[in-house]
Symmetry: C2
Subunit: 200 residues, 2 copies
DNA sequence: GTCTATAGGTGGATAGAC
DNA sequence: GTCTATCCACCTATAGAC
């Protein structure tokens, strides 16, 4: 907290390494060389490599939430929910590494963080629940349990995105995008939401 | 191919290491120590560590298909589709490591394998398409494009399973199982399949 | 088919001087 | 806040004898 400046600079450079090579791509040696310092200098700002990696992931959550928040600009509850889905996809496609560490990797729940991080950062899950509640209140969707519904939606969206990011779907990005929209509409139909969808 | 016996033994032991520690858990040194030989001995049977790991994954596909095939014992198309979903879950829960390497990790398509492995082992995807086609033919589901529908179903199921395996869902196994069933039924409703489901 | 010896590489991290 | 000097653990793989 004292010397915030240097720490930020390290985080920026480390973020670029992470972008290019994922967690494995971030090594104290490589990072130090890139910044023109010795590896040990980094330990003044981060206790360990895991500490550094943790900071990068935290940043990821913040970025993600920023994407989701954009959807609030829409006028109606239904439009906001749909927009949230698009923002979700956009984040995943523009930050695949971040997405992978945030949602596709097993992290054995470090007992330090007060358990608040369950539901993969409750804030993002809450966001989705709120969107669905909004739609239910407006009568656009028929939902008895918003949390259960949100989980279905999240899983669906995550399933599509993660399979695509893992290279399991032999389609290109644009093909995937339309496929993503269609699949979501099909799911919405299950909630009584007529898939009259939006423009893209 | 010549000395199949020793190769199998290695594969068994390596499989156990893999089970316990994932891909990272399989090291030539560790494996050799476990088997009471020197690391170099292993190179008689596998060209490299990647070769060994590849063999383990191949085995995984075979095991997975065996699970899916069990669902064919059911009497009706609808029951077979539902059973396939349960077998999918069962495989994932009983072989989480295998599931992870097969579906949750990015493999940069080695151009050697003739491209036949796209769609994450076409065989398993085909299986799902067939189940859905069957249901459509029987009038249980209303599906225009079986492949697109299969993709939706796969993504949904994979999304749930992978989030659970990654520890992102703060529920225990039994809670997850019922949640899994419910979520699938909700999706099926989108296909016109009344979620009158099955027993568990 | 298995061994010894060994080369060569990656990485994280501590101690203590400047 | 950064350095040098190390240490350590871990790993894959080659060469050539038995």
């Amino acid at each position: 907290m004292a010397a915030g400046l240097a720490r930020e600079r390290i985080l920026v450079e480390a973020g670029e390494l992470f972008l290019a090579g994922g967690p494995e791509g971030v090594t104290m040696r490589g990072l130090a060389a890139r910044m023109g310092v010795t590896p040990m200098a980094l330990y003044r700002h981060f206790d360990s490599r895991d500490d550094l990696l943790g900071a990068i992931v935290e940043e990821g959550h913040a970025v993600f939430l920023r994407y989701l928040n954009r959807s609030l600009a829409e006028a109606t509850p239904a439009a906001r929910l749909l927009a949230a889905g698009r923002q979700y996809l956009l984040f995943a496609l523009e930050h695949p590494r971040r997405y992978a560490v945030m949602f596709m990797e097993h992290v054995p729940q470090p007992p330090e963080k007060k358990g608040a991080n369950a539901w993969a950062d409750a804030a993002t899950f809450r966001f989705l629940v709120d969107r669905i509640r909004e739609c239910a209140a407006a009568g656009v969707l028929t939902v008895e349990d918003p949390e259960a519904a949100a989980l279905s939606v999240w899983a669906h969206v995550h399933g599509l995105v993660s399979l695509f990011l893992a290279g399991k779907l032999p389609v290109d990005r644009t093909a995937f995008e339309s496929l993503y929209d269609e699949s979501i509409q099909r799911l919405m139909r299950g909630f009584g939401g007529g898939g009259k969808g939006g423009s893209r």
